[in-house]
C-alpha cells in the first residue's frame, strides 16, 4: 500500500504497529464468547416460528418440560419487562406472544443439561398456529389491500426529499437516462455464528457474554426487557468473530440473561449456521428507480429517485438505512434539483438491518451506473463526467449541507485515473484473454460514505484512562471504552492514539474494549465511527491525564514547578507509580452536526465522509457468463491513516466482500422460507476468487478527527460493486441492473454473443 502524506512528528499514529490482539488469535488462545465455559453450565435452544406469518393460538410447554434433562422452558409469559427490542423501534418480540412474522421469530427458549436434551425438548413444545397470507413482495405490501405484517401498516417509513426544481432541470437536460436497479439481500456471513453465555450472580444480577457491537445499548435493551436495573447487568461483547453490522441489533443477549436468571445457572446458546441465517439480519434488498438528466457538458441538472427497501418483519435500523441510501443516491455529486422518495416496507422476508455500507452500497450501485450511462449518451469519458460533477470543499451538497469539512472526491478520482488499471485500460482490454472466448474490461466507480449516526441522533463517545503500576513496577496505562473489537483492529488504533497522547510506549498501553465494566460508553462499532469517536474520546482523556500529571509533578518528583515543567511525562508517571499513586482521567466527545436540518428527515445529512474510488479489471467468459475479477484498485481518503496495515486490511477485505455482492451473493427467500441456509448454497468469495488488489490512501487531515483521522470500515466495500458491473458492461454490452451478476444473468442479459 502506498500513501501520500506530509512528514509529521508523530511517534505512533500513522505507524505500522502490529495488532495488539494478534498473538492470541494466531495461537488459538483468544476466547470468543462461545468458547467460554462455566461450572454447572446449561444449554439453551430457541424454538423458532413454524410459519413465516401466523397467529399463535396457544403454546403448551408441559410435555417439553418433562423431557429428561430439561430445567426450564421459557415463553413470553417469562418476559417481565417490555417484550420487545429494536435499535430504532422495539417492535420485535423477545419471545412471541400472539403472532409470528418471519421464520426466525423466537417462540420459546428451552434450557437443559445438555444440547441434545434441549434439542429433544424443542420437538415437544406444542404451538397451535393460524397461518396468515405471506407478505413477500414489498411493492404489493404497500398497496392498501395488502395483508398487514404490523397493525400500523406495512410502510415503516416514507422519506421525501425535494430541493430545487427537477421538472425544470429535466426540461433543460440534453440527455436523460432512466433505469430500475434491483439489489440483493446480502448476508454478513461472519464466520462466528451468534453465541454466548449468560451468568447469574445469584443475587438478581447477570453477566451476558455475547459478541456484539454496542454493549451499553445491549445493556439497555436487556434491562428494558427484563425489568431490572442496567447497573445489575454487565455486558461483555468483545472479541467478536466478525460482525459487519449483523451483530449490531440484539441477537441472543436478552435470552441469555433470561435463561441465567430463571435457572440461577450459567446458560450457553450457540446458533447453528442454519439458524443464524434464518434468524439473523441481512442487507436490505432494494429496488431503486433513477431518472437523471444532464447538460451537454455532463453537469447533472435533475435527479429523481424512487427507492423501495424490504426491511422484512421488523424495523431494526430499516429507517436509517433507507435514509442513508437516499443520501447515497446523490453520489459524490453536485445536484441542485433533486426529488427523492424512499419507502421502507415490512414483509415476511426474514429481517434486514445494519450491514457495512448501510444502504449506500445499493444506492451507489445505481448512481454509478447512471453516471456511466450519462457518459455513454454524451460521448464523455467516465472520469471526466464524474470530475465535472464532483463536490468540492465549500459546495452546498444536494441535501443542503455546506461542506466545510474535508472533501476528497477529486483526490480519490484523480488517484484512480492515474492508477495502472485505468491509465492502461485500453491496453489491458486489448491484451489476449486467458482463453479466446473470454473478454477483458475495466470499470471505475466512486463513492462518499457518510459516517457517524447523523443529524438528530445523539452520537457521542467516552473513554477513561487509568495510570497504574505494572507487575514490573513500571507505569501501565489502562484505556477503557466500550466499542468492541469486531476484527477491524480498533483496539490497536486505540493503543496507538493513547500512546501518542500519553507520550508513552505503545507496549505500555492496555486497551479494554467491549465490556461495560471496563470502560464508559463510546457508542456502537458501526457507521465507520469507532476510530473517529473513540479516538477523539481517547484524545480528550489523554489530554486530561497529561494535565493531571503536570499538576501533580512537583509533588511527585519533589522538585520546583520550574524543574517539573522540564520533566518528561514518562518520568512523572514513573515517579508517580513508584510512590503508589494511581490516577484516572476521562474524556468525552460529541459529534459535530450539520447546521442544515432537513425537514422531517431523520439522520441526514452526514457531514464527515470517507471518499473512495475503485477500479476493477474483469474477464468475462462469453460462453458461460462467468466473471472473474483479475485485479482491483482502491484509492481512499479516510483522513489521517492511523495504522497503514489496518487500512490495507479493511480495503482488501472490503473489496472482496463487495465483489461477492457484485457477482454471487443473495440470500434467497421464497414465500418467507430461506433457501440458502449454509455456505454450500450461499456462496461467498474464496481465496480462488479474490483478485490481485492494490490500495492507495490519499491522506487528508480532518480537523475534527483525532490526529486528523476519519472512518474507513464501510466505504471500502462500496464502489467496487458498480466498478465490476460496469466493467462487465464494457466487456459484453450488458446492463447489469439486477445484482448479483451471476453467470446466468450475464449470459441471459444479451451481452453474450458467440464470436462477437
Amino acid at each position: 500500500m502506498s500513501t501520500t502524506s506530509a512528514p509529521d512528528k508523530l511517534r505512533w499514529v500513522g505507524k505500522p504497529v502490529p495488532r495488539v490482539d494478534a498473538v492470541g488469535k494466531v495461537t488459538g488462545a483468544t476466547k470468543y464468547m462461545g468458547d467460554l465455559t462455566f461450572p454447572g453450565m446449561l444449554w439453551g435452544r430457541v424454538l423458532r416460528a413454524a410459519h413465516p406469518h401466523a397467529l399463535i393460538k396457544s403454546i403448551d410447554t408441559s410435555k417439553a418440560e418433562k423431557v429428561p434433562g430439561v430445567v426450564r422452558v421459557l415463553t413470553h409469559k417469562d418476559v417481565k419487562g417490555l417484550n420487545g427490542y429494536g435499535i430504532a423501534v422495539p417492535d420485535q418480540p423477545v419471545l412471541c406472544h400472539d403472532k409470528v412474522r418471519y421464520m426466525g421469530d423466537a417462540v420459546a427458549l428451552v434450557i437443559a443439561e445438555t444440547r441434545e436434551e434441549a434439542a429433544a425438548a424443542l420437538d415437544k413444545i406444542e404451538v397451535v398456529y393460524e397461518p396468515l397470507p405471506v407478505v413477500d413482495d414489498p411493492e404489493r405490501a404497500m398497496l392498501p389491500d395488502s395483508p398487514l405484517v404490523h397493525e400500523g401498516g406495512n410502510i415503516h417509513l416514507h422519506t421525501h426529499i425535494e430541493r430545487g426544481d427537477v421538472e425544470a432541470g429535466f426540461a433543460a437536460s440534453a440527455v436523460i437516462v432512466e433505469n430500475t436497479y434491483r439489489l440483493p439481500r446480502q448476508m454478513h456471513a461472519f464466520l462466528e455464528p451468534e453465541q454466548g453465555v449468560g451468568v447469574s450472580d445469584g443475587n438478581g444480577g447477570v453477566t451476558v457474554y455475547c459478541g456484539a457491537q454496542h454493549p451499553y445499548r445491549d445493556q439497555m435493551q436487556i434491562s428494558r426487557a427484563l425489568g431490572i436495573k442496567p447497573s445489575r447487568i454487565r455486558v461483555v461483547a468483545s472479541p467478536v468473530g466478525g460482525a459487519f453490522g449483523g451483530k449490531d441489533e440484539i441477537t441472543l443477549q436478552i435470552l441469555l440473561a433470561m435463561g441465567a436468571l430463571a435457572t440461577g445457572r450459567p446458560v450457553k446458546i450457540v446458533l447453528s449456521r442454519e439458524e443464524s441465517v434464518v434468524a439473523g439480519w441481512k442487507r436490505h434488498p432494494m429496488v431503486i428507480h433513477m431518472r437523471t438528466g444532464a447538460a451537454a457538458d455532463g453537469r447533472i441538472l435533475a435527479h429523481q429517485v424512487r427507492l423501495v427497501s424490504d426491511t422484512g418483519a421488523y424495523a431494526s435500523l430499516g429507517g436509517p438505512v433507507t435514509n442513508l441510501a437516499l443520501e447515497g443516491c446523490t453520489g459524490v455529486y453536485r445536484m441542485e434539483n433533486i426529488l427523492m422518495d424512499g419507502y421502507c416496507v415490512y414483509t415476511n422476508n426474514g429481517v434486514a438491518g445494519a450491514f457495512r455500507g448501510f444502504g449506500q452500497l445499493q444506492a451507489n450501485y445505481a448512481m454509478e451506473h447512471q453516471m456511466d450511462l450519462l457518459a455513454e449518451a454524451l460521448g464523455m469519458d467516465p472520469v471526466a463526467i464524474r470530475r465535472v460533477n464532483a463536490l468540492r470543499g465549500g459546495d452546498v451538497n444536494p441535501l443542503g449541507h455546506t461542506m466545510v469539512e474535508n472533501v476528497g472526491a477529486l483526490s480519490v478520482l484523480d488517484a484512480a485515473e492515474r492508477c495502472d488499471l485505468w491509465a492502461r485500460r485500453h491496453e489491458l482490454e486489448a491484451e489476449p484473454p486467458s482463453e479466446p472466448w473470454k473478454r477483458r474490461a475495466v470499470g471505475l466507480a466512486v463513492e462518499m460514505q457518510g459516517t457517524g449516526l447523523g443529524v438528530g441522533l445523539p452520537d457521542y463517545g467516552a473513554a477513561k484512562i487509568d495510570l497504574v503500576r505494572g507487575p514490573d513496577g513500571r507505569p501501565r496505562w489502562r484505556v477503557g471504552l466500550s466499542c468492541p473489537e469486531i476484527g477491524q483492529g480498533n483496539s490497536t488504533t486505540y493503543a496507538q492514539m493513547a500512546a501518542e497522547g500519553l507520550e508513552c510506549d505503545v507496549g505500555d498501553v492496555e486497551v479494554y474494549v467491549g465490556d461495560t465494566s471496563a470502560g464508559p460508553d463510546s457508542g456502537s462499532c458501526t457507521a465507520s465511527r469507532s476510530v473517529y469517536t473513540g479516538g477523539n474520546a481517547i484524545f480528550h482523556a489523554a489530554t486530561a491525564m497529561r494535565e493531571l500529571l503536570r499538576k501533580k509533578a512537583p509533588a511527585v518528583l519533589g522538585c520546583t514547578e520550574e524543574e517539573a515543567a522540564q520533566a518528561e511525562l514518562s518520568e512523572i508517571a514513573r515517579a508517580a507509580v513508584a510512590k503508589g499513586i494511581t490516577l484516572s482521567a476521562d474524556g468525552a466527545f460529541i459529534w459535530p452536526e450539520s447546521k442544515y436540518k432537513l425537514q422531517g428527515v431523520f439522520g441526514l445529512p452526514h457531514i464527515i465522509n470517507t471518499y473512495i474510488a475503485h477500479v476493477a479489471l474483469v474477464e468475462v467468459d462469453v460462453l458461460t457468463g462467468q466473471v472473474e475479477v483479475l485485479r482491483s484498485f482502491a484509492a481512499i481518503d479516510c483522513g489521517k491513516v492511523v495504522n497503514p496495515q489496518g487500512v490495507q486490511g479493511q480495503s482488501e477485505g472490503g473489496m472482496v466482500m463487495g465483489m461477492g455482492y457484485a457477482l454471487m451473493e443473495d440470500t434467497l427467500i421464497q414465500g418467507g422460507h430461506t433457501l440458502t441456509k449454509n455456505f454450500s448454497t450461499y456462496i461467498i468469495p474464496t481465496s480462488l476468487d479474490a483478485p490481485l488488489m492494490e490500495t492507495v490512501t490519499c491522506e487528508s487531515f480532518e480537523p475534527t478527527g483525532p490526529w486528523g483521522a476519519k472512518g474507513v470500515g464501510e466505504a471500502v466495500m462500496v464502489p467496487i460493486a458498480p466498478a465490476i458491473a460496469l466493467a462487465i458492461r464494457r466487456a459484453t454490452g450488458a446492463l447489469m441492473d439486477h445484482a448479483p451478476s451471476t453467470s446466468e444473468r450475464v449470459f441471459t442479459k444479451g451481452g453474450v454473443r458467440l464470436g462477437g
Binding site: P18, R19, D21, A22, V23, G24, K25, V26, T27, G28, A29, T30, K31, Y32, D35, T37, E116, H188, A189, F190, L191, E192, P193, P239, V240, G241, G242, A243, F244, V270, S272, R273, I486, G487, Q488, G489, Q645, G646, Q648, G649, E652, G653, G654, M655, V656, M657, N678, F679, S680, I684, P685, T686, S687, L688, A690, L692, M693
Partner: protein, 174 residues
C-alpha cells in the same frame, strides 16, 4: 446414548475417554479437552474454521467423529507453539507480520491448512497456496494478506533450513 472408549493423542498428549458415538472430533476438542482454538463456523465442512491435523492431514473436525480418531494423533493450533517454548510457529508469526489476522475466527483453521501445505510442499507458489486454503473461508481480509503470509513463511523456513544445514556442515569435522 451409546458410548465408545477412545485413545486419542492430541498435541502429543494421550487422552483415554469415554465419548458418545455421535460426538464429533471438534466437540471432543472444544468441550472435553477445552481446546477452543478450532471453531465451528458452519458444522458442515464448508468453512474450514475447524481445521486440525489428523495424522498430519488437514481435516474438517466437524465432519470427523471422535470415535474414528482412536489410536490416531491430532494436532490443533494450540499444539503448534506450546506457550512454554515462548515463541510462535513461523506460520503464526508470518500471519501477524502480514496483517493476515482480523476478527481471527478463521485464523486457527487457516493456520493449520497452511502448516499442512508447507509440510507437503515447502516452497509453494502463490497459486498453490490459494488452492490449499480455498476450503477455509475468511470474511475479513480478502485473502491477499493470508496468501502473502504463507508465501513468506515458506521462504523464511526454507532460509532457516538452509542456514541450519550450513551450520551443521561447517560444524562437521573435516
Amino acid at each position: 446414548m451409546e458410548a465408545t472408549r477412545v485413545r486419542i493423542t492430541v498435541n502429543g498428549v494421550e487422552h483415554v475417554r469415554l465419548v458418545p458415538s455421535t460426538m464429533t472430533l471438534l466437540e471432543f476438542l472444544r468441550e472435553d479437552l477445552q481446546l477452543t482454538g478450532a471453531k465451528e463456523g458452519c458444522g458442515k465442512g464448508e468453512c474450514g474454521a475447524c481445521t486440525v491435523l489428523l495424522d498430519g492431514e488437514p481435516v474438517a473436525s466437524c465432519l470427523v467423529l471422535a470415535a474414528q480418531c482412536s489410536g490416531r494423533s491430532v494436532t490443533t493450533v494450540e499444539g503448534l507453539a506450546p506457550p512454554e517454548e515462548g515463541r510462535l510457529h513461523h506460520v503464526q508469526q508470518a500471519f501477524i507480520d502480514h496483517g493476515a489476522v482480523q476478527c481471527g475466527f478463521c485464523t486457527p483453521g487457516m493456520v493449520m491448512s497452511a502448516v499442512a501445505l508447507l509440510e507437503q510442499n515447502p516452497l509453494p507458489t502463490r497459486d498453490e497456496i490459494r488452492v490449499a486454503i480455498s476450503g477455509n473461508l475468511c470474511r475479513c481480509t480478502g485473502y491477499q494478506s493470508i496468501v502473502e503470509a504463507i508465501y513468506d513463511a515458506s521462504r523464511r523456513s526454507a532460509k532457516a533450513e538452509r542456514a541450519e544445514k550450513a551450520e551443521q556442515l561447517s560444524g562437521e569435522p573435516r
